[in-house]
C-alpha cells in the first residue's frame, strides 16, 4: 500500500515535471529505453549528464573570467551544453542555453551574464527535482 502510494507520488512528481516544462518528450525517449536489462537507465544517464555538464559550466565560468570575452568559445561550449541538456529532455535548461547563445552572437555581455545565471539556476533546479523523483521511484519499486 505504501508502495502504491509511493508509486503514485512518484508518478505525480514526474507528471509535474512535464507539466511545468522542466522536461520534454526527449525524457520519454529515455524512459522508453529503460528496460529490465537496464532498470536504472534514466537515472544513470541523468547522473552522467550532471557530471559532464558541471564540467561545461566550469569551463564557461573560466572563460568568463577572461576579458575581453571570447564569445565564440562561449558559444561553442554552450552549444555542447545545450546538446547535452536536450538529449535528456531538460527543457528549461535548453531554453536558457539558446538564449545565452543568442546573446553571444551579438556580443551582449550583460545579456550573457544574466542568462548564464538562469542556466545555472535551471540546471540546479532540475537536478534537485530529478533526484527527488528518482529517490521516490526507487522507494516505490
Amino acid at each position: 500500500m505504501e508502495r502504491n502510494q509511493l508509486q503514485r507520488q512518484a508518478a505525480y512528481m514526474r507528471n509535474t515535471l512535464f507539466d511545468q516544462g522542466y522536461l520534454d518528450e526527449q525524457f520519454l525517449q529515455l524512459e522508453d529505453l529503460q528496460d529490465e536489462a537496464n532498470p536504472k537507465f534514466v537515472e544513470e544517464v541523468v547522473k552522467l549528464f550532471y557530471t559532464d555538464s558541471a564540467r561545461l559550466i566550469r569551463s564557461i565560468e573560466l572563460t568568463l573570467e577572461n576579458t575581453p570575452w571570447d564569445f565564440e568559445k562561449l558559444d561553442k561550449i554552450m552549444h555542447q551544453f545545450k546538446g547535452s541538456s536536450s538529449s535528456i529532455g531538460a527543457k528549461k535548461v535548453k531554453k536558457e542555453c539558446t538564449q545565452f547563445q543568442e546573446y553571444c552572437k551579438v556580443g551582449n555581455v550583460e545579456g550573457c551574464m544574466r542568462t548564464f545565471q538562469e542556466v545555472k539556476q535551471e540546471h540546479a533546479a532540475l537536478k534537485r527535482k530529478l533526484e527527488n523523483y528518482f529517490q521516490l521511484a526507487r522507494e516505490a519499486r
Binding site: 526527449q26 529515455l30 544517464v45 549528464f49 559532464d52 552549444h79 546538446g83 547535452s84 536536450s86 538529449s87
Partner: protein, 652 residues
C-alpha cells in the same frame, strides 16, 4: 549483400553482410554502427537506442580513436554516426577521412540545425544529418544508407563489367534506376535487384577467381605503394599487372591489385565529381599544399594559361568536347580526377592529410599527394588528349567516388594532365599564345578569378568534367574569359557527372577477394542517391551526383540548389584547377552571374548526351562544392607551383 533477393535483403552473396555479422532474415539486425560523440550523455543514449534497434554498437568519444578503429577493423563497421562539433576533430573532417579511408556511409548529427551546417554535411558527403536530440525512430532506419550504398556499388560494378559498349546505355539506365522515387525504396530495390542479378553473375566470376585468395588488407602503406605505382605508370596505363610489378609486394596478387584499382578509380571518379559540386572539393583540388604538387602545379599553370587563352573557345565546342568525352567512356580518366579532391579535402582541414590515413600522418598525405601528382605528370600530352576525350565521362566516374576531399587529391593529379592537354588543344584551336612554360603562379594569377569561378562552375555543371574536361572547359572558359579554374573543375564535375554514366564505376570495391565486404570495399563507391526525407534528401542528392549512379538523386537535390550553383561552380572551379592562385583570384562576385548562366548552360550541354539526367544534382553539387571551395580555398598551397588558395583572399 544481395539486394536482389526478394524478401531477405541480406544473404551472404559476394558483397553482402558477412555471414557472421547479420543473421539472414533478420536484417537490419546486427548492423554494425560506430558512434562518435564527445558528449558522454549523448553517446550513452545513442548506444542504448541503437542497441534497442538490434544494431551492434561501438562507441567512441574521440575522432582519432574512431579512425583507428575503422582502420584496424575493416569489417568492423557498416555505418558511422558522428557528431559535428567535437573538440579533437571537426566532424566533417572525420567524415572526409572516413570517406577516403573506406567509403562508409556516415551520418552527421548535431544540435545545430542551421542550414549552412546541414549543407556542409551534404557537401562533405554525409548520407544523412540528424538533429539532436536524436530520437530512436530516426535511428531505426539508418540501415537504408548501408543498403543504398551497397546497391550503388553493385551498380557500379555492374557497369564496369558490362563493358564499354554498354556503358553508355547502362549509365543512362542507372540514372533512371536511381531516379526511382527516392522515397520509394522498393522501386530502387527492384532496379537493384535486376542489376544485382546481372552483377551477381559478374561477381560470381570475380568471386571464383578470388575466392581462394586471402583477403588483402590495404593498409595505408600498401595503398601508398599502390598509388605510387599507379602514378608512375600513369592512370591510363596503370594495369594491374604492371602495378603489381612496380609494387613488388610479396604475396600480393594481380587480382588484389585489380580490385583495388577498380575501387581507386571509382574513388577518383567520385572525387572529381564531388569536387565539382562541392566547394570543399574544389578546395581540395587546389589545396594540396604539398610541394610534391609542384610538378602538377606547373602543369596547371600552363593549363590555366591555356585555358585563359582559350577562353575564346566557344561554349559549344566545350559542350561538344564534353559530349564527346562523355560519350566515350574509358577508364583512363579515372585516375587523374581524384587527385585533386583528395588533396583539397585534407587541405582545408588538414593540409597534409593523406586520404588514406587522414590526419594522422601528414607526411603520408604529402606522399600521397606526390604520388598523385606523379600521375598527371606521367601522362604525356597524348594521354592527356585521350584522357581528355574519355575522361569527361570516366573521370567523373572515377573521381567522384570518394568524398569531395579525396577528390582534391585526385583532381590535382588530373588537372595537370588535363591542363597540358588543354593547352595542347587550345593551342591547336584557339590559343596560340599560351606560353607553355608560363610559371604556374603566373598562370594562375593570370587567370582572372572570375573566369575561374565561372568556368569552374560551368564545367562542373556540365558532365564533362573529367580531367579532360579541362580542355573543354577552357573552351568554355574562353567564352567566359579566363576562367581557368573552371577547367579544373570540369575534371571534378565531369567526373561527378559522368559517374553514373561511365562504366568505370566499378571502382574500388570490386571484390578484392571476390567477396566484397561491402562495408569497406567501396572505397570509391559513393552513397547511392539517398532519398531521405529530411536533409538527407539534399545530402543524398548531392552525394549521388558525385557518386556514380546517383544521377537521379542529385537531381532531386539539384533543383533546389541551382541558385547556389554559381557559388558551387566557383568553388569547384577553384578546387579543380588546383591552382591556388586561381582560386584566389576568382572573382566570385563578379562571375557569379556569369557562372550561373554558364553553369546552367553547361548544365544543359553537359547533359546532352543524356548521361546525366540529373542536372540539378550537378548544380547542387556545384553550389555545395562551391561553398566548400570558398571555405577551403585558403588552404590550398602551391603544390602546383601556385600559392595555395588563401581563404582570406577568397572573394567569397
Amino acid at each position: 549483400m544481395d539486394l536482389g533477393v526478394k524478401s531477405q535483403p541480406f544473404t551472404s552473396s559476394n558483397a553482402s553482410w558477412k555471414s557472421g555479422d547479420v543473421v539472414p532474415g533478420q536484417f537490419p539486425a546486427g548492423l554494425k554502427v560506430l558512434v562518435v560523440d564527445d558528449d558522454p550523455t549523448c553517446l550513452r543514449i545513442l548506444e542504448k537506442m541503437l542497441k534497442n534497434c538490434l544494431y551492434e554498437v561501438t562507441t567512441c568519444n574521440r575522432a582519432e580513436v574512431a579512425l583507428d578503429f575503422l582502420r584496424d577493423n575493416k569489417n568492423g563497421c557498416d555505418i558511422v554516426i558522428s557528431d559535428v562539433h567535437m573538440p579533437d576533430m571537426d566532424g566533417f573532417k572525420l567524415l572526409e577521412h572516413i570517406g577516403l579511408l573506406m567509403d562508409l556511409p556516415v551520418i552527421m548529427m548535431s544540435a545545430d540545425d542551421s542550414k549552412h551546417v546541414v549543407m556542409k554535411g551534404v557537401t562533405h558527403g554525409a548520407c544523412d544529418y540528424l538533429i539532436k536530440p536524436v530520437r530512436i525512430e530516426a535511428l531505426k532506419n539508418i540501415w537504408q544508407h548501408v543498403v543504398r550504398k551497397k546497391k550503388h556499388e553493385w551498380k557500379d560494378k555492374d557497369v564496369e563489367h558490362s563493358g564499354s559498349v554498354e556503358e553508355g546505355e547502362r549509365q543512362q539506365k542507372f540514372p533512371e534506376d536511381v531516379d526511382c522515387s527516392s522515397s520509394i525504396n522498393e522501386g530502387n530495390w527492384k532496379n537493384s535487384k535486376r542489376r544485382k542479378d546481372e552483377e551477381d553473375e559478374v561477381d560470381d566470376r570475380d568471386d571464383t577467381s578470388t575466392l581462394k585468395k586471402p583477403r588483402v588488407v590495404w593498409s595505408v602503406e600498401l595503398h601508398q605503394q599502390f598509388v605510387t605505382a599507379v602514378n608512375q605508370l600513369g592512370i591510363d596505363k596503370a594495369v594491374p599487372k604492371k602495378i603489381l610489378e612496380l609494387m613488388n609486394v610479396p604475396g600480393l596478387t594481380r587480382e588484389n591489385v585489380a580490385s583495388h584499382l577498380q575501387k581507386y578509380r571509382l574513388y577518383l571518379r567520385r572525387l572529381s565529381g564531388v569536387s565539382q559540386h562541392q566547394n570543399g572539393l574544389a578546395n581540395s583540388f587546389m589545396g594540396p599544399s604539398d610541394p610534391s604538387f609542384g610538378p602538377m602545379s606547373s602543369l596547371s599553370g600552363v593549363d590555366l594559361q591555356a585555358l585563359a587563352a582559350s577562353g575564346q573557345l566557344p561554349a559549344q565546342s566545350l559542350a561538344s568536347i564534353q559530349a564527346a568525352a562523355l560519350g566515350r567512356p574509358t577508364s583512363k580518366s579515372a585516375v587523374p580526377l581524384p587527385l585533386v579532391d583528395q588533396r583539397n579535402v585534407f587541405n582545408f582541414e588538414n593540409p597534409k592529410l593523406r586520404f588514406i590515413e587522414g590526419q594522422q600522418q601528414q607526411s603520408d598525405s604529402s606522399k600521397q599527394v606526390n604520388l598523385l601528382h606523379g600521375i598527371p605528370t606521367n601522362m604525356d600530352s597524348k594521354q592527356l588528349a585521350t584522357l581528355h576525350q574519355s575522361t569527361l565521362g570516366n573521370m567523373n566516374m572515377h573521381v567522384h567516388s570518394q568524398t569531395s576531399q579525396s577528390n582534391s587529391l585526385l583532381m590535382q593529379m588530373v588537372q595537370p594532365q588535363s591542363r597540358t592537354q588543354l593547352l595542347n588543344e587550345i593551342n591547336g584551336s584557339h590559343v596560340s599564345n599560351i606560353p607553355s612554360s608560363v610559371g604556374q603562379p603566373v598562370l594562375s594569377r593570370a587567370i582572372p578569378s572570375a573566369v575561374l569561378g565561372r568556368n569552374g562552375i560551368e564545367n562542373i555543371h556540365g558532365p564533362q568534367y573529367t580531367s579532360l574536361s579541362q580542355p573543354s572547359t577552357s573552351a568554355d572558359y574562353s567564352s567566359q574569359s579566363t576562367e581557368f579554374s573552371g577547367n579544373t573543375f570540369p575534371l571534378a564535375s565531369s567526373s561527378g557527372m559522368s559517374r553514373g554514366l561511365l562504366p568505370n564505376y566499378d571502382a574500388l570495391n570490386v571484390n578484392q577477394n571476390g567477396n566484397q565486404d561491402w562495408r569497406l570495399q567501396n572505397v570509391g563507391s559513393t552513397f547511392g542517391p539517398p532519398h531521405h526525407s529530411n536533409i538527407q534528401g539534399g545530402l543524398d542528392v548531392s552525394r549521388s551526383v558525385l557518386i556514380q549512379q546517383p544521377v537521379s538523386s542529385s537531381q532531386k537535390g539539384g533543383q533546389s540548389r541551382i541558385p547556389s550553383a554559381n557559388k558551387a561552380a566557383f568553388s569547384l572551379a577553384e578546387g579543380f584547377t588546383s591552382i591556388p592562385n586561381v582560386g584566389q583570384q576568382l572573382n566570385f562576385s563578379a562571375s557569379d552571374k556569369s557562372l550561373r548562366s554558364k553553369a546552367e548552360r553547361l548544365h544543359e550541354t553537359g547533359f546532352q548526351n543524356g548521361l546525366f539526367s540529373e542536372r540539378y544534382g550537378q548544380e547542387d553539387l556545384m553550389s555545395a562544392l562551391f561553398k566548400q571551395q570558398q571555405e577551403g580555398l585558403g588552404a590550398v598551397e602551391s603544390e602546383f607551383g601556385f600559392d595555395g588558395y588563401h581563404l582570406d583572399n577568397l572573394p567569397v
